[in-house]
Point group: C2
Chain length 207, copies 2
DNA sequence: TCCGTTCTTGAATCATTACTCAACAACACT
DNA sequence: AGTGTTGTTGAGTAATGATTCAAGAACGGA
């Protein structure tokens, strides 16, 4: 499928990964409907023709941005957990770390999770995006579930614990924490909340 | 400021409360940006002129709808709690009841909370709505806080418990529960999650 | 230098957006 | 019935929405 020696194409001038990163930032901050093509053009520094040639549509761009966001989040979780021998302690610190992250203002485009924002914005209007968000959240639940399964096998958890069920409780904690963070609570209160959520896991630990 | 006996006005033909109820349903289901004036006209069975004469603007209508939603939610909480001697048991059943409510499909326009949907959709685009949502959530936190304060005075809670802090944990549980419900989990799993959240409160109970 | 291919450009397109207003309708009172 | 006030109507407006496409620009190889 190579061009047979004559007339090699012009290479793209934009940086696809850079553009996607900018798209994540904009969508994360303003949402799907809140981000107009004009704003997207400005954020990506691309003209409409290039955007449509590259990503197909606004939906296509949003979908790719969402995927990229989810992959980055998954990598971040894996990286974090790699630093812990104890799964439970790793997850507890993960919750505390999220709370702290919501504290440092102006770093992330939004405190709430882009996947949750997508789910809530698109649930009754945009079937495709809603399903994508649901699939991503299902995969994250699965990751948590595997971590907790492993923890149970290592004797960190009570034998009565259902890893899938606890994974959902954990996921809902993160959803709640990052959503309530949009209330602009004082930093100390948010960190306390992260701590309280971390302590919930203590009840599931083996004695 | 009464009209001096001559020429009394035509009374409104629509039912303001009915219209507001329909607006709540539409906005709750589709969000702010997802609800066009055309859809609003259809839902309220009112023509644009009447809508603007009555509510001022789309923002004004949304704002009133949000207020109405919050008042209904507050009344529902008060009504629920009136049936309990124990505050903690009341709140635990409240969580379980929310989970069950997310189960009965097609009853509510959306499982997620309209206030949270508003907060997430408007946080970086629509300052007025965002502030209103924050104020409402602050008032709800306050209600929980007072209930928990009362519970502590009655000796239901450990003395070390900070009611405000626990109120925020409780509010974040509800946010998480109703948000994750948009994932369309099986009914049993959602009810289990509601139960797990209710059990979190056990750790704060006096022995 | 010229060619062929691909990428970029941005004015133009058509749909939809929130919103207005002049004309009309309906009622309570005399 | 007549009158004054207010409610209702819906075609119309100006702005903005996402998207297209013909023309030109940039490069590697001949």
């Amino acid at each position: 499928m190579t061009t047979d020696g004559i007339g090699m194409p012009r290479p793209p001038s934009y940086d696809r990964e850079y553009a996607l990163g900018r798209a994540v930032s904009l969508f994360w901050k303003k949402g799907y409907h809140g981000s107009s093509m004009k704003q997207i053009e400005q954020a990506l520094d691309m003209r409409p023709g290039s955007i449509y040639a590259t990503f197909g549509s606004k939906d296509g761009l949003y979908s790719e941005a969402l995927t990229r966001y989810a992959e980055a989040g998954g990598a971040e979780l894996a990286e974090h957990m790699a630093g812990y021998d104890s799964v439970i302690e790793g997850l507890q610190d993960y919750l505390r770390r999220i709370a702290q992250g919501c504290t440092r203002k102006g770093v992330a485009p939004s405190r709430a999770c882009l996947i949750v924002k997508t789910l809530l914005e698109s649930s009754n209007t945009h079937a495709g995006l809603s399903e994508q968000a649901q699939a991503i959240l299902g995969a994250i639940e699965q990751s948590f579930s595997e971590l907790l399964e492993q923890a149970r096998e290592y004797g960190e958890l009570k034998e009565s614990v259902d890893p899938g069920r606890l994974a959902r409780l954990l996921q809902s904690q993160i959803m709640g924490l990052r959503s309530i963070a949009e209330r602009n609570l004082p930093d100390a209160e948010l960190e306390d909340l992260g701590d309280d959520m971390a302590r919930i896991l203590d009840a599931y630990r083996a004695d």
